[in-house]
């Protein structure tokens, strides 16, 4: 009975975004602090027929021996350009399965656009500056990167069942990726999803590492 109602409700929801729900995702660490640079992905149980989005070119700047931004979500097919805005060379590389590459960028030089076709995580480092790390998360799903306040909101979600997945560069390795399943009903429903992440120290920068006593 309930199952049938639910199916009917799902069908109804899929009929059209007459009523939109909202998921507010809040990320905090074990100490209760808001966590920025976390990627929150919301995957509907029923893949929505989303209209194709035109590929865009993303930029990963290198300024003050830092990749900016640190974490970026791209859609498959997007291109990324690494731009060296520093006065030093950077040896940008990635051994990731999603995309392995290697660029030697002189000051002011930019890499050729690099197409990111495969979903997955592309960890980018600089072989010259170990503390330079950036992440490009190639994901077809709706995804947002949390600001330093640690909270993002997904609006206008049709009723349905959603899987909320969180990724963070400092997520403790070896643990299952945190995820929550939420069902949004009809109406202006706002659901809040809280994640408390177990994070390892920020691997960027010598200062941090020294702080870790390594």
């Amino acid at each position: 009975m309930r199952w049938r109602v639910m199916v009917a409700w799902l069908l109804a929801g899929s009929a059209g975004p007459l009523w939109a729900g909202q998921l507010v995702v809040r990320i905090s660490d074990a100490g209760g602090h808001a966590v920025g640079d976390a990627v929150v992905m919301v995957t509907p149980a029923t893949p929505a027929s989303t209209p194709p989005v035109a590929p865009v070119t993303r930029y990963v700047d290198q300024r003050d021996e830092t990749f900016i931004p640190y974490v970026q979500v791209v859609r498959p097919g997007d291109r990324v350009v690494f731009r060296n805005s520093d006065g030093t060379r950077h040896h940008v590389y990635s051994f990731s399965e999603a995309k392995a590459f290697e660029f030697l960028l002189r000051p002011g030089e930019s890499s050729p656009p690099l197409a990111l076709d495969k979903p997955g995580l592309v960890a980018v480092g600089c072989n010259i500056h170990d503390h330079m790390i950036a992440y490009l998360l190639v994901s077809p799903e709706q995804a947002q990167v949390t600001p330093s306040q640690g909270q993002v909101a997904f609006e206008h979600l049709p009723p349905g069942v959603y899987t909320v997945t969180v990724w963070h560069p400092q997520l403790r390795p070896g643990l299952a990726q945190p995820r929550e399943i939420r069902t949004l009903g009809a109406g202006e429903e706002v659901q809040q999803v809280d994640f408390t992440l177990s994070l390892i120290p920020d691997p960027r920068g010598f200062a941090d590492r020294e702080h870790l006593d390594y």
Partner: protein, 777 residues
């Protein structure tokens, strides 16, 4: 000597014991304080070193981690890891492992599975053995000790970023003996550092040792390891032991660092102090002993010397007395000692002088004379003469003139003898006698000297208004004929002198045959006493014939002695001797008892026989005699009239008063009293007048020839007449023929006694005789 050594030894021992005691107590205190301080210091050091050990491990972790990080930054390695190029990773890990001193390197994936293991290829694909270490490797430095196959390893887990975390490199640094030895050297801990693992429940096992020989863990096997510093004995040496827990993997067997602080090693720096102290103690002892010895010697030497002097004085040597030039007490003692020895010497000389000299005449005394004679004999004198000079009137002179004049007289006598017998050794033998010893003299020379001496003494001693004749008597005893010992010679000389005193010649040689003082007499007396005690004497009875009735009505009891060896001993041989030696009273007592007993037996049988018993002069001096005789009479129930006692006139003269009382007492009893040997000797008619005499016995000298000698007839007749006139019975003794008997009967004598009538007979024979011969005619 022994006492002195004892004193010295005691003083030295006391000193040494005090020193040693003080030193040992001090040493014990110092040792106790030092040891406590060392234990405290050891506890502190152990704590510090335990922390240092942990810090060393941290440093090790940092060094290893730094190395691994550098390694992990290698682009090629990152690339190889990222691309799962395990062959490359293996070689890189092994290479870096050597650099950091690791014996084993592992690459562990983020999923906790070992991807590469340099020590064990088969470990790939297995789960990492210490997941708790991997868990926190990204958060903080992760390093811990683990135990594998009873070996300890320091495990450092380093995350690998490429650039994101891709895995963990696990470095195993063996905590082996070499490392611990290095740490021990760095620690400067006097002791050892060991690692103990407990692979099972059995106990702790040493995984590594800093020193091979210490063996802390091995020695403590089976015990709980002390988590606070505690004193333990390790192979006989004392250690402070502390077990320091180390950070370790949960899944590993327990591993602790065991730190030992050797108290012995810590004490080693103090050994020099101990040696110095011991040397000081030894030196102190030596110096102290020498000092004590010297001090004691300064005391004991003089004491020993004084003791030696005392022993010499004891032995009679007064020379070489110690002189101590000291002003202290010992000096005073020595001075007092010398004074004492001097006084003792003077006194001894005086005593010796007194002992060997006569004070009156200043001549040697008898003891000195005997010693001189014995010395001469020992010196080989073959012959000599001893002249004993006595003054026969000496007792009279003393009584008459007093001692002081007598002393002067004796001085004069001594001087006169000394003048005429210059070659003689003169001495005063007794109060009244001088002895002159003529060594080498023969009889002729002895007589010549004797005559000279007698000549010299014949002149009267004249003093003021008295003139005294000394009446010397001189006895000569010849050496060696009359004796070889001085005492014997002296005695024999004295005997000879007594003999001279009693004779007309004032000079006599000793004659052993006439010596009434022969020593054998003493033995005879002893035997007499024994015979008395054992009743070996018998009484024989000589009958007395009543001339009127021609009947035997009385007997005289005469003692007979059958000596077991000598046979029959004649009465004259022992009675006189018994009188001289004081045994006569016992003899009389026995004779009275036996005679009275026999008389009473006869009386009981109806025989009227009066029994006469002889008394001696000494018996009459015994005041209790009448009492005793009375008691004997009453015991035996004999009428007193049946007993007669016979006395001599001489006996009465001795002590007339007592004798008179005794005789009166006897007469009062009713006992008859006969005067024996009447008519010879000192007849004193005066006594007769007073004596309670009942009978006179005419001496046999008047009776023996009575039959033919008219004079004797006259005397006997006169005595009989006198006796009868005075109221006495008269008995004639020594009747040896019929003529005498008839004469006596004619004269009117009452009784006759003699061999013609009967010899003395035993009591048994007498009984028959008295009846058979009753009518002798």
């Amino acid at each position: 000597m022994r006492a002195a050594v004892g004193f010295r030894l005691r003083l030295a021992l006391f000193f040494v014991a005090t020193l040693v005691t003080v030193q040992l107590v001090t040493a014990a205190l110092v040792y106790g304080v030092t040891r406590r301080a060392l234990v405290t210091e050891g506890e502190r050091q152990l704590a510090v070193n335990a922390q240092a050990f942990v810090a060393q491990m941290d440093d090790l972790s940092a060094r290893v981690a730094g190395n691994v990080e550098v390694m992990a930054l290698d682009y090629a390695l990152r690339s190889a890891i990222a691309e799962r190029d395990h062959g490359t990773v293996f070689s890189v890990l092994r290479n870096h492992g050597r650099r950091v001193g690791a014996s084993r390197m592992q690459l562990v994936g983020l999923d906790g599975v070992v991807e590469v293991d340099t020590a064990d290829v088969r470990a790939s694909g297995q789960r990492f053995a210490f997941p708790d270490l991997a868990e926190h490797a990204f958060d903080r430095r992760t390093a811990a000790v683990v135990s594998l196959q009873a070996k300890a390893y320091w495990v450092v887990v380093v995350p690998i970023y490429a650039p994101q975390p891709v895995g963990l490199v696990v470095v195993y640094v063996p905590l082996d003996d070499a490392l611990l030895a290095h740490l021990r050297e760095l620690s400067a801990l006097p002791g050892d550092i060991e690692l103990a693992v407990r692979p099972g429940v059995s106990g702790w096992v040493a995984a590594a040792q800093g020193l091979k020989h210490a063996g802390l863990v091995a020695s403590l096997a089976g015990q709980a390891l002390p988590m606070r510093p505690a004193v333990r004995s390790i192979k006989g040496r004392e250690y402070l032991v502390l077990a320091q827990p180390l950070s370790q993997a949960r899944s590993s067997a327990p591993v602790v660092a065991v730190l030992g602080y050797s108290l012995g090693d810590a004490l080693r720096p103090f050994r020099a102090v101990v040696i110095a102290w011991a040397i000081l103690l030894g030196l102190g002892l030596a110096v102290g002993l020498i000092g004590a010895w010297l001090t004691a010697r300064s005391v004991s030497r003089p004491v020993e010397s004084l003791a030696g002097a005392a022993r010499r004085i004891e032995a009679g040597d007064y020379r070489a007395l110690p002189r101590l030039d000291r002003r202290d007490e010992l000096g005073q003692l020595a001075a007092a000692f010398a004074a004492m020895a001097d006084a003792v010497r003077q006194r001894e000389e005086h005593i010796r002088q007194q002992a060997l000299h006569d004070q009156v005449t200043d001549l040697p005394n008898r003891v000195a004379a005997e010693a001189a004679i014995d010395r001469a004999r020992d010196a080989g004198t073959t012959h000599g003469a001893l002249l004993m000079v006595g003054l026969t009137r000496a007792p009279d002179i003393i009584k008459t003139m007093g001692h002081s004049l007598y002393d002067r007289l004796m001085r004069e006598v001594g001087a006169r003898v000394g003048r005429v017998a210059a070659s003689a050794q003169l001495a005063r033998a007794t109060d009244t006698q001088f002895v002159a010893w003529l060594p080498g003299a023969d009889r002729t020379e002895a007589v010549a000297s004797a005559l000279r001496i007698l000549d010299a003494l014949n002149a009267p001693y004249v003093e003021a208004d008295v003139s005294i004749d000394t009446l010397p008597a001189l006895g000569i005893a010849m050496y060696p004929e009359d004796g070889t010992m001085a005492s014997v010679l002296l005695r024999h000389g004295e005997v000879a002198q007594f003999a001279a005193t009693g004779s007309t010649r004032p000079l006599a040689f000793y004659d052993a045959a006439t010596d009434p003082h022969r020593t054998e007499r003493l033995s005879l007396m002893g035997e007499l006493r024994e015979a008395l005690d054992h009743d070996r004497l018998v009484l024989h009875y000589q009958p007395k014939l009543a001339l009127a009735s021609r009947r035997v009505d009385g007997v005289e009891a005469l003692v007979r002695w059958h000596h077991p060896r000598r046979g029959m001993v004649p009465p004259q041989d022992f009675i006189g001797m018994a009188e001289d030696t004081g045994n006569i009273q016992r003899l009389t007592r026995w004779a009275l008892a036996a005679g009275i007993a026999q008389a009473s037996r006869w009386h009981a049988r109806g025989l009227e026989l009066k029994v006469a018993v002889n008394l001696s002069a000494r018996d009459l001096g015994e005041a209790e005699l009448p009492l005793r005789i009375g008691r004997l009479l009453s015991i035996h129930g004999l009428p007193p009239g049946q007993l007669t006692v016979e006395i001599t006139e001489r006996a009465v003269i001795g002590e007339p008063e007592t004798a008179m009382r005794v005789l009166k007492g006897l007469a009062d009893l009713g006992v008859g009293i006969a005067v024996d040997d009447f008519g010879v000797g000192q007849s004193a008619f005066a006594y007769l007048r007073h004596l309670p005499v009942s009978e006179l016995k005419i001496d046999q000298t008047f009776v023996r020839h009575l039959a033919r000698d008219a004079n004797d007839q006259t005397i006997v007749r006169s005595i009989v007449e006198l006796g009868h006139r005075l109221g006495f019975q008269v008995t004639a003794e020594g009747v040896e023929d019929r003529g005498a008997l008839e004469q006596l009967a004619a004269i009117g004598c009452d009784h006759a006694q003699g061999f013609f009538i009967a010899r003395p007979l035993p009591a048994a024979e007498l009984a028959g005789f008295s009846f058979e011969r009753a009518g002798i005619a």
